[in-house]
């Protein structure tokens, strides 16, 4: 019974937490963009405009739901669901802290420590593409179809380098579980570097982050919704909360991806050179590890915003070219090098 309760609290807690971050992210994105562009951004609703996402949410919820007459109703309706549900469920295997001891019971700060965590993420991540393509097709709009097609091609092709980049990590740590990988990143590497994934897999990290940007449809890979070319891409015809689900799912995806990056490459809840867990009590360490993890995640979330407002957009064929001709050979090369090293050193 206790286990059940803990599990439910964890699920609900992490769900609310991710939701909250995503909500705040919409605000951060707009304010950050504004500050980068020499303007103040939304600053009317609440202090520093913090209630802006709330206002947006109310607006989206209260708007009339319009389904285009010639839309394929079923597909049109389930499109946003198929997009946002995988986005939410992907975070299940990503840790958000070390562990906390409450009443003599050790609780892992992770919804579920699956030993095939990677595969779960890849599988769930590729589900999102259905939401996009179905939404694009169901809208019965040429721009939407173009957006859906672009998105499909892009997400499918970038899953390959994404998976290959992850393989390098698997080679290094010998496990699929994100928690085990996180635990393994403690201490130092070669005596002076923190024992983080990025130092063991620098190329893999770059490949992963590029592929992750493409998977999340973020600039410079935002062609599925390139507003100057195909209006809004796959969600051109969407309005009210259905649109909200698409926009929201995107930010949830960002949170998940940032979480994965931190867990795999940036030492999860570890601080370089110091083993804080040894000095702190079990409860305080749980909270501190959560904070450290969250700070690292915030940095990567900010990176998404920062990059978005710096770069122009790729073209469709260039994205494909970069994926198939650039990233995949590099990822294979990375795997080869990694395997070679492991073979030589072990």
């Amino acid at each position: 019974m206790d286990d059940w309760l803990i599990a439910i609290i964890k699920v609900v807690g992490i769900w609310v937490w991710v939701l909250l971050i995503a909500v705040v992210m919409t605000w951060v994105e707009r304010r950050g963009a504004a500050l980068i562009q020499d303007r103040p951004g939304p600053n009317r609703a609440g202090p520093w405009g913090l209630f802006q996402p709330l206002a947006d949410g109310i607006k989206l919820f209260t708007k009339e739901e319009i389904i285009p007459t010639k839309a394929q109703k079923l597909l049109y309706i389930i499109g946003p669901l198929l997009f946002s549900v995988p986005a939410f469920s992907a975070y299940a295997v990503v840790p958000f802290g070390d562990k906390i001891v409450l009443g003599g019971k050790e609780i892992i700060l992770q919804v579920s420590d699956v030993n095939i965590g990677f595969l779960y993420i890849l599988a769930i991540g590729s589900m999102a593409v259905y939401g996009v393509i179905l939404g694009g097709w169901g809208s019965n709009n040429k721009y939407s179809i173009l957006g859906g097609l672009r998105s499909t091609a892009q997400m499918v092709s970038y899953e390959v380098p994404l998976g290959l980049a992850l393989l390098g990590i698997v080679f290094v740590y010998g496990t699929f579980s994100l928690r085990d990988i996180s635990l393994a990143q403690q201490g130092t590497f070669l005596g002076f570097l923190p024992n983080w994934g990025i130092f063991k897999q620098p190329l893999g990290f770059i490949l992963f982050i590029v592929a992750a940007y493409a998977e999340a449809n973020r600039v410079p890979f935002d062609l599925p919704e390139a507003e100057s070319e195909i209006v809004s891409g796959y969600h051109t015809e969407y309005g009210s909360m259905r649109l909200g689900l698409y926009l929201f799912g995107e930010y949830v995806n960002l949170v998940t991806i940032s979480g994965i990056i931190v867990a795999l490459y940036f030492g999860s809840w570890h601080i370089p050179y110091i083993d804080l867990g040894a000095y702190l009590g079990p409860i305080s360490w749980g909270i501190v590890s959560f904070c450290i993890f969250f700070l690292k995640v915030s940095f990567f979330l900010w990176m998404f915003v920062w990059v978005r407002w710096t770069l122009p957009r790729f073209r469709y064929d260039q994205v494909m070219g970069l994926g198939w001709r650039g990233l995949i050979p590099l990822a294979l090369f990375n795997i080869f090098i990694t395997a070679l090293f492991i073979q030589l050193t072990v």
Binding site: A33, I36, Q37, D38, R39, K142, Y143, L146, L149, R150, V219, P220, D222, L223, A226, E227, S228, E229, I230, V231, W309, T310, L311, P312, R313, F314, R315, Y316, D317, Q318
Partner: protein, 379 residues
Amino acid sequence: MNQNPTPQTSHDTGDYVTVNIGPSHPAMHGTLRVVALTDGESLIKVDPEIGYLHRGVEKLGESLTYHQFIPITDRLNYCSAIPNNVAYEMAVEKLMGVEVPEKAQLIRVIMMELARIADHQVCIGILGVDLGAFTPFFYLIIQREEIYEIFEWFNGARLTNTFGRIGGVDADLPDDFEQRWEELKPGVRKANDETEKLLTHNRIWMDRTIGISAFSAEDALNWGFTGPCLRACGVKRDLRIDEPYCMYDKFKFKVPVGKNGDVFDRYIVRMIEMEESLKIIDQAYKLYKEMPADAPLMARVPKVIKPPAGEVYSALESPNGELGFFVKSDGSAKPYRIRIRPPCYMIYQAFPELVEGELIADLVACLSSLNVIAGELDR
């Protein structure tokens, strides 16, 4: 090439899909419309339609007096109103045989070059926006506001300036012009530098622009290209140098010339032109300061302008290219006919040639780089 009527539905075109881009589409500046026949992402046939912003400007001119037409010229290329005003005024002055005082000409040069900078800033900014880079737009547009500030302190309006009168200018430069100008100069340079840093050497930008809608010099000349788009193709043609007006022959400046006539070259040509414009204004202001303070700014023109019967064509190098006004007078107080030769019109004709066979994303890039202004195009 484009003799077939516009395909209206996708059914009669086999495997291709007709995509209607515009008239209200984020990338169609103003109200342009492009009917594109596409095969997936690539454009098979492109059919631009114009006229969505047609306001009958030329016809309107026939019912207004010569002076009253000046405010309407503001509304042609609304990104840079001043060259339009001056082009029209120059045409009427030529018709009347009026010699504009030198000081007025210098003021015209200064204001026109400021407007050129403003226009290029908008063009490059929008090009960036259309290619997904939003931030340079703001850096540039903030500097454009500073330029508008100068306009506002010059004669009270920011966008639709109604600059000048037939025979001269309506006001002298404000007293604090020098100070404002000295403040503006580094700002414009900084914004340009930042834009260059964000875009020029960025490979994403280069891939998106280099070789896109490239055009040979010969084709460009045949289609009647003028302005930066022609110069990007490698033809050194600039009315400021080839047929000097407004004392442009007294200034030293370079005319940037591209090589390929692609989007990248147009972008670079505009970037360099802004820098050259800054130099021109410096020189013009130096000459201006040498003039006596009470030097005339208006030629002697009668109160009611009645040019002798006749017709005249006069053109200048507007930011977009050759902007010409053909004015025919029958000796009365109103023009008999006004015909405007907007640079965009000729350039936009070649639009199908430029983009057919490329991708939809290139259509957008090409359109922005041509700087087609609907107000000027449709008149």
